[in-house]
């Protein structure tokens, strides 16, 4: 679906023509039907990548193809939907006119468009605001109508740049559901985000881009497993005396609140021993929670590593 080979982009900025590297040798392959999350802090090169793929900027070097067609092929866009970051639209148009305009750019007939616009406005929950001009829309509503325009042509590949930014929790959930709905329909979704929890819950694979370089790529499980960032949280009751002291010494962190003790273990290796100690000490295990490391931990770790590498 998407193939990037050594894709790079340098921008020339200022009067002194200073060169700034936005993207360095990006190699990426995204298969049909995947939901791929592109992660990275602000300025990492996520938007640059999307803009190169959509033909908004020209790469300095490297190659890329979309649906087997090289960059610059305008015809392939017939099969692609795109939502830019913080979208700005023609605010003098109503939602209906707006979608009609974009649909006509795909050469769709008015009859076909009427059906599709009804369907999409219903999908993004804007059917009641269809006659309202976009200048009266809230940010969340603009994001939704933006998603509708990205889907007007029923695309095979959907590219979304920060689709959840600026949305409230309900709006974010709706966008997440929409992406999962697209997956059910067999579409390929490539989206960038810095809201990690969203990426973690819906993506097949993620790529982490930092300072224009792809630092990691793989499924969420793979990446987290590779780093082994796991903790185990225990809550116990009635463990006192020497048993209690030994237990607290074994844990990385512990907090005693009344009869209960909260214990945190860095790894699973000593958890069995701790459970045995609780049972032998006459205590009761209230709960045991294995906490998987989050993508956030991995992300923060990667950014820190990158910053350290830059300093040396």
């Amino acid at each position: 679906m998407i193939v990037c080979e050594q894709l790079s982009k340098q921008f020339v900025v200022g009067l002194r023509q200073r060169k700034v590297t936005a993207l360095q040798g990006l190699d990426l392959k995204i298969d049909a039907g995947e939901i791929f999350g592109f992660l990275g802090p602000n300025g990492a090169g996520k938007t640059t990548t999307l803009k190169i793929l959509m033909g908004l900027i020209h790469p300095t070097s490297g190659r890329a193809s979309l649906l087997g067609r090289p960059l610059g092929d305008v015809g392939v866009k017939q099969q692609i939907g795109f939502l830019p970051e913080s979208p700005y639209f023609y605010d003098y148009l109503t939602a209906d006119e707006f979608l009609l305009f974009y649909g006509q750019l795909f050469g769709m007939s008015r009859v076909e468009l009427k059906r599709r616009i009804d369907e999409l406005l219903d999908l993004v929950g804007l059917e009641k605001s269809r006659s309202l001009r976009l200048r009266r829309f809230s940010k969340g509503m603009l994001q939704r109508v933006g998603l509708a325009q990205a889907l007007i042509n029923d695309p095979q590949l959907v590219m979304l740049d920060e689709p959840m930014s600026g949305l409230d929790p309900i709006g974010r959930k709706e966008v997440r559901d929409l992406i999962l709905h697209l997956k059910e329909q067999g579409k390929t979704v490539f989206f960038s985000s810095h809201i990690l929890s969203d990426v973690e819950t819906i993506c097949n694979r993620v790529g982490i881009l930092i300072n224009g370089r792809l630092r990691e790529i793989g499924s969420v499980e793979e990446l987290l497993g590779r780093y082994g960032v796991k903790t185990v949280e225990l809550i116990v009751e009635g463990v006192t005396g020497p048993h209690g002291e030994r237990l607290r010494a074994m844990a990385a962190k512990s907090i005693v609140t009344g009869p209960r003790t909260w214990l945190l273990f860095d790894s699973e290796s000593r958890v069995d021993e701790a459970v045995a100690l609780i049972v032998n000490g006459g205590g009761r295990l209230v709960s045991l929670t294995r906490q998987k490391g989050s993508l956030e931990d991995l992300f923060v770790k990667e950014v820190a590593l990158s910053e350290r590498a830059n300093q040396t």
Partner: protein, 255 residues
């Protein structure tokens, strides 16, 4: 529907929903209408004053509409980032430019049409004959506006909307003095200065070709040949400007 036409009609819709256009149009219509009042203050022939003033108003406000509504063609699209979603659709960049240009030509045609009706109304107030040669003058003003719009479009492809407006207005003013460059080239002693003046004379538009207001006011016949060749010159100049705009726009990055 053809993609160029879709973009053109959207551009037209944008301009007719823009308050700026109405402000300019109202001023233009007031000034054209005001020429009747002003003509009563003169001792000369009233009809000449009326036609002179009303055609000048039509020309001036046509240029203002072409520049200030026209700069929104591309530079505002880039500044407001509305262009992102268009370029991401199956639309060639040249189709986008052509659509924008055509859209503004439609806007200008509608506005010039309205102003022409007003010019005829005030002309009839001065004399009871319908002067068809006014249409020749209006047509050439329209060709001039097409050039100004193409200049605005070209400037929009590489600079901000403010600079594009300044460049376009400057070129409009220079375009009416380009014959002075020819005189300058003849009189100046230095070879290099003559060469520079000649290059400027031949590369800048000579907008005097489109000004037959004086002839129309003083009942001097303007040949159809002159109107035809001025139109051909204008269209050739527009074609060159549009090709240059497409070349620049094709290479541009939308950061």
């Amino acid at each position: 529907m053809n993609k160029i036409l879709v973009i053109a009609l959207n551009t037209y819709k944008e301009s007719i929903r823009d308050k700026l256009l109405y402000n300019l149009l109202i001023f233009a219509l007031l000034l054209i209408g005001g020429s009747v009042i002003l003509s009563t203050l003169t001792v000369g022939e009233r009809s000449k004053i009326i036609i002179d003033l009303s055609l000048a108003s039509l020309n001036l406000f046509g240029v203002l509409i072409a520049v200030f509504v026209g700069i929104g063609l591309v530079s505002k699209e880039i500044e407001k980032k509305t262009i992102y979603t268009i370029i991401a659709k199956p639309v060639h960049r040249w189709q986008f430019l052509a659509g924008k240009y055509l859209g503004l030509l439609i806007t200008l045609a509608v506005n010039v049409g309205l102003m022409t009706v007003c010019v005829y109304a005030v002309q009839l107030a001065g004399e009871w004959t319908l002067r068809l040669e006014l249409l020749q003058a209006v047509w050439l003003i329209y060709v001039e506006l097409m050039i100004v719009t193409a200049v605005a479009l070209l400037c929009s492809t590489f600079t901000t909307s403010t600079l594009a407006a300044i460049f376009t207005l400057s070129l409009y003013v220079i375009g009416h003095f380009s014959s002075s460059l020819k005189e300058f080239a003849k009189k100046v002693g230095s070879d290099s200065a003559t060469a520079v003046a000649n290059v400027l004379y031949y590369s800048l538009p000579n907008l005097d070709h489109f000004n037959i207001k004086g002839e129309v006011v003083h009942h001097i016949a303007v040949s159809a040949d002159r109107v035809f060749w001025s139109t051909v010159y204008g269209l050739a100049y527009i074609a060159a400007l549009l090709v240059l705009a497409v070349i620049i726009f094709q290479r541009r990055d939308f950061k």
